[in-house]
């Protein structure tokens, strides 16, 4: 099975949020970037399917900050080919434009399946997988937590609210938004990533910025971004496990939850 995995870098707000002077976006130049965590699950699912089907995995991305490391990492983990679409301009590319640019490249490839993370922390104008599918005209599913290969296609397990899950069989090529996988995203050492980067291996493809699907952009204008008013913070108990355990038992006892 030939699989394309769409990867994206997102601002790392772990150490705190920084907002630009206009108040309309994160201060992206002041933040580090990490790979969208859900894309790592998508890559893991692709690598599992590769092993199962003797397949081929291509990772593709735009020229996001820190993407080279992410692509080399994917190669070190077992992806067969990495493609970077360059020339599309910097800054915050919305999901609609991202999907359009990717679709115009994907359209020229041979593939059975496209995987990407179900969502990203900053996809204000909707999630990439369904936008890609709608643009390319493929069957699709979001919030996929398991994939089985069948003779004619594959069966995806989709999660809904209230504990409902459903399995659907999709004809290929199809697009899946991956929410989780049967295995934790695998680990690879920095040494292996460095080795992968020494082999070169990222194919740069100049994109003319043309979107292969009929969408110029999201049609949204951001007026302002802001942090929500400080929500109630927990009262912190001691960090020592024994003292914390005593405090927690006290709380449960007060409420009559234990004798």
């Amino acid at each position: 099975m030939d699989i394309i995995v769409a990867l994206k870098q997102v601002p790392d707000v772990g150490a705190g949020i920084a907002i630009n002077d206009e108040g309309t976006d994160l201060a992206r130049d002041r933040l580090g970037f990490v790979t969208n965590p859900f894309d790592e699950w998508a890559l893991e699912e692709a690598l599992l399917l590769k092993d199962m089907t003797d397949g081929w995995v291509t990772v593709v991305s735009l020229d996001d900050p820190g993407i080279d490391h992410a692509l080399y990492r994917a190669l070190a983990l077992g992806a067969d080919h990495a493609v970077k679409l360059v020339g599309t301009g910097p800054a915050w590319i919305d999901s609609h434009r991202r999907a359009g640019i990717m679709a115009s490249w994907i359209r020229e490839q041979l593939y059975d399946l496209i995987l990407s993370g179900v969502q990203a922390p900053d996809d204000l104008d909707g999630q990439l997988p369904a936008l890609l599918a709608a643009g390319l005209g493929h069957p699709f599913a979001s919030v996929v937590v398991a994939v089985e290969v069948t003779e004619t296609g594959l069966i995806a397990t989709q999660e809904f609210g209230g504990g409902r899950v459903g399995r659907i069989e999709l004809a290929l090529p199809a697009v899946l938004g991956i929410q989780g996988s049967l295995r934790d995203p695998r680990y690879v050492s920095d040494m292996r990533i460095r080795l992968a980067s020494m082999g070169g291996g990222i194919e740069e493809v100049r994109s003319d910025g043309e979107t292969g699907v009929p969408t110029a952009g999201s049609g949204l204008s951001v007026r302002r971004v802001f942090t929500p008013e400080a929500s109630r913070r927990a009262v912190m108990l001691p960090a020592s496990p024994h003292e914390a355990a005593d405090a927690i038992l006290g709380l449960l006892r007060e409420r009559g939850l234990i004798a």
């Binding site: 772990g14 949020i17 994160l26 609609h96 179900v118 969502q119 900053d122 204000l124 104008d125 909707g126 999630q127 997988p129 369904a130 936008l131 599918a133 709608a134 643009g135 069957p139 979001s142 397990t157 809904f160 609210g161 209230g162 504990g163 899950v165 459903g166 399995r167 659907i168 999709l170 004809a171 938004g177 929410q179 989780g180 934790d184 699907v213 009929p214 049609g219 949204l220 204008s221 302002r224 971004v225 802001f226 942090t227 929500p228 109630r232 913070r233 927990a234 912190m236 108990l237 960090a239 496990p241 024994h242 914390a244 355990a245 927690i248 709380l251 449960l252 409420r255 939850l257 234990i258």
Partner: protein, 319 residues
Amino acid sequence: MNHDVLVLAEAAGDSFIDPTFELLGRARDLATAWGGRVLALVLGPSPDPSMLNADVVLTVSHPKLDAYTPEAHARAAQHVVAELDPKLVLLANTTEGMDLGAALSLWCQRPLVAYAVDVRAEDDAIVATSQLFGGRLLAEVALEGDRGICAVVGGSFPPARVPTRPPVVEVVAPPVSLDGVTTVPRGMPPGEDEDIDITKAPMLVAIGRGLKSQDNVAVAQALAEALGASLSGTSQVCDLGWLPRTRHVGKSGVKVRPRAYLSFGISGAPEHLEGIRESELIIACNTDEAAPIFDAAQYGTTADAIELLRALTSRVQQR
């Protein structure tokens, strides 16, 4: 020009999901402001439509809509939206909402806002506030043009009142495009046997990926047993097979309201918090003091989850 607000109703069993009623409530405010009608769209078999506080309930029936598939439901939704051209389409930011919102946006050429927690009318304009970065940032956005789609996070609006008179039900003929749908529903995953119902448990011990490995689930199970509590967890823990899916709490799992929710190694993603907000008491353990779970919990500790689980278990057992 048409000023209607269309709500995509999502059926679940013999009713609709909570967000459907919440969207209908806000749709009424918006339709009143714009001078349009509230339309509810039900794709496939419909629970009793008289529950829906709308002016018109539109139903579409077709064998391909009997069970949910993104492909068939997206095509049917596109057909209705293109035909009726409502000013605004509201859907829940659920799995279905993610599937259909994007397809409608591209195929009907309308702007789409995801993760909305507020949608309002400013004269003729549609303005939304959305959650980004798991709720750590809010964005106020205006939709360009006079047509739009908003996917709204559950719990953002109070539910609509129960309708005093039943809505008009209109049957919409299914589009021919449904005949070309290739996706086939294959039912529920095998092997999900009857399990305990965690929504009924008075106390829950809940675990996340911070437990690090499946072997540690037994450590949490020991505490649950000592307390007479049930074990539950995040979706990722269930995806990894550490717990059966029936134990999965949150937006795509179940909503719980225990008297106490003890959480270990859970980050507190908004999708998880949606399922625990109504708990009477939340106590959270996470080594990262900035973890969002501490915004939902009344009490917290940065102790190591395994050490704390062991310390608690031995104390409870020694009582």
